[in-house]
Symmetry: C2
DNA sequence: CTGAAAGCGCTTACAG
DNA sequence: CTGAAAGCGCTTACAG
């Protein structure tokens, strides 16, 4: 019975101190790199700590050191193929930096305000927003609380808020140019949800790329970034009297849906009858069945930049806000007929 | 300049108290549901809190209440398609229970010991292990620290450790039976990494299901759960002099790889030339291009059970350990010729 | 209903 | 190098 109650109460530095016959200060010092403790004291403390199973309480510690190593990370359902890939990298890197991710879940298109602010009752050192949308008011509130904010894939103009985004406009321009150079004449676009920044920018980019050659979009549909929506909208495009000879899709999942529609349902060859280009270069894009030509949205580079900006702003909270744009690169695989380089 | 310094220091209950002209106790009470405060005091505190942008510090609070609402969650790179799906659900549910996930990242096949134990310096109320492997020693250590542990998809025998797993053996049996009933004669198996529990159990199950009808595996290959490995090993099977007429794969990703190999590379029709069955029923299995027949590993049911067990053990730490098995269900789509039900 | 005080588990000047 | 003491931001008996 005694055993049981003992198991439940966490061992404290006081326990270790009395077991080792030293003060709590000595215990604290042995676990603080660089603090001055004699070898003998240190050994006794270490021994006692081991016997008792002591682990210092990071929270109690943070109360005095004022550093928690906690970073709030806002994520959604990870339902796209891109998100989990990004997220896995991000959390791995965070851990390597000895920071801990405190998760905030938001339904994908919700404003992050309430759940994020709730999470901020834990004294995090910063927050990374990689899902949902964030209002200027929420950003302002974080600023007031002194919590540095870094947005991923979404940018707003606000003091103390940094962002890293793919250069979506440029990427879509590249896709349009490559398609035009390969003599495609009827270039269609399948967009994502109109409220999402990536859609706005990619949509503008493809139009701009076409306009530079005196062309405009031959046809256009709107999906919701899901495979299914790519499949469905591609069907509409490909069954028209005049089908497109190329489709640029706002993300890879929709591009894959479009490939499926062309090949399995309409009976068209890709890329011989229709070229298809996606965006993101998720791992699945390289699968032989898809072998998708796409614009790579470089995950590691994005993660590096996010962490770098966060660090910077933790150290110097009053820096002017920055938006870093990551250059996408064209990955040529088999789903589009493109001119030789 | 003063402004700046003010922004950096977090507003405390002391600040609110003096602004409102009340004691810290009063502040604490207004934020503690059910505590007795007069309406007037409450109003003044609320007003002051709002003006100052006060948010009570969950960590400082936890020091006295002894409850942090923090749950450590061990995850990997989310590289399979199943993991992010599972993980998104888990964190959503956790948040709805007003628990916060503290993330622990492990490289997928590593032992979780070091990173998990490090995370436990934060006073979490429990831990969920959904990636990596866990040694009895690590489990024992968690037990000593009084941290309830629930494993997902992996089971070990240890006091104070609960687990929820798919009934993999049963699922694989079902696949074997369905294939035999549909008169397949040459049934092959593509396994996953031999060290993973799901592989061990699914492999045993398919053999058992076959043996019940006097059959045994016609051929066998080993992949690593990735699409690529399914593709590669299926190629070997299908290019043999005597190819199988059915392939059961240890997970959906490999089954999709096998489908791709059959259709795009070898030129075989699925299911007319070869039936293919996967395991898990990841969202992608339903995509038209795959339309994969598979065993559903029910995510929501798993999550419910994990959370239920965790709750139970937090309340009653000394309960005997339990392993809950979730029944998989056969999802009949188009990738396998099966007998009518 | 309210406030002064003790306490949660730690760290860090301070004095020795 | 070491320990006693104060303090981090909160909560909770206790007394009024």
């Amino acid at each position: 019975m005694l055993e049981r109650r003992r198991a439940r109460r966490r061992v404290t530095s006081e326990d270790v101190a009395s077991q080792a016959g030293v003060s709590r200060s000595a215990v604290s010092r042995t676990f603080t790199p660089g603090a001055s403790v004699s070898q003998e004291t240190r050994d006794r403390v270490l021994r006692a700590a081991k016997e008792l199973g002591y682990r210092r309480n990071a929270l109690a510690r943070s109360l005095t050191t004022n550093s928690t190593d906690l970073i709030a990370v806002v994520m959604g359902y990870l339902s796209s193929q891109y998100e989990p890939y990004f997220f896995g990298r991000l959390t791995a890197r965070l851990q390597r930096m000895h920071k801990r991710a405190l998760l905030v879940h938001v339904d994908d298109s919700d404003e992050v305000g309430v759940p994020l602010l709730e999470a901020l009752s834990y004294p995090v050192e910063g927050a990374i927003v990689a899902a949902g949308s964030i209002s200027p008011e929420t950003a302002e509130e974080c600023m007031r609380l002194g919590i540095p904010l870094v947005l991923s894939g979404r940018a707003i103009e606000a003091d103390g808020v940094d962002a890293v985004c793919c250069d979506n406009f440029r990427g879509a321009q590249l896709a349009a140019e490559a398609l035009v150079n390969a003599k495609h004449k009827r270039i269609a676009y399948i967009g994502g949800k109109a409220t999402i920044q990536a859609e706005v920018e990619r949509s503008a980019g493809v139009r701009d790329g076409l306009a530079a050659h005196g062309l405009s979009l031959f046809a256009e549909e709107r999906g919701d970034f899901s495979f299914e929506s790519g499949y469905r909208t591609a069907l509409t495009l490909l069954r028209a009297d005049q089908p497109p000879d190329a489709i640029f899709c706002c993300n890879d999942a929709m591009a894959m849906g479009a490939m499926d529609a062309a090949r399995h349902t309409v009976g068209l060859a890709v890329p011989d009858d229709v070229s298809i280009i996606g965006f993101d270069d998720i791992p699945m894009a390289a699968w032989p069945g898809f072998n998708l030509t796409t614009l790579r949205n470089p995950v590691d580079e994005a993660v590096d930049n996010i962490l770098d900006l966060l660090q910077r702003r933790i150290e110097r909270p009053n820096l002017p806000p920055v938006i870093r744009r990551i250059r996408p690169v064209m990955v040529r695989r088999g789903s589009a007929k493109l001119a030789q380089l």
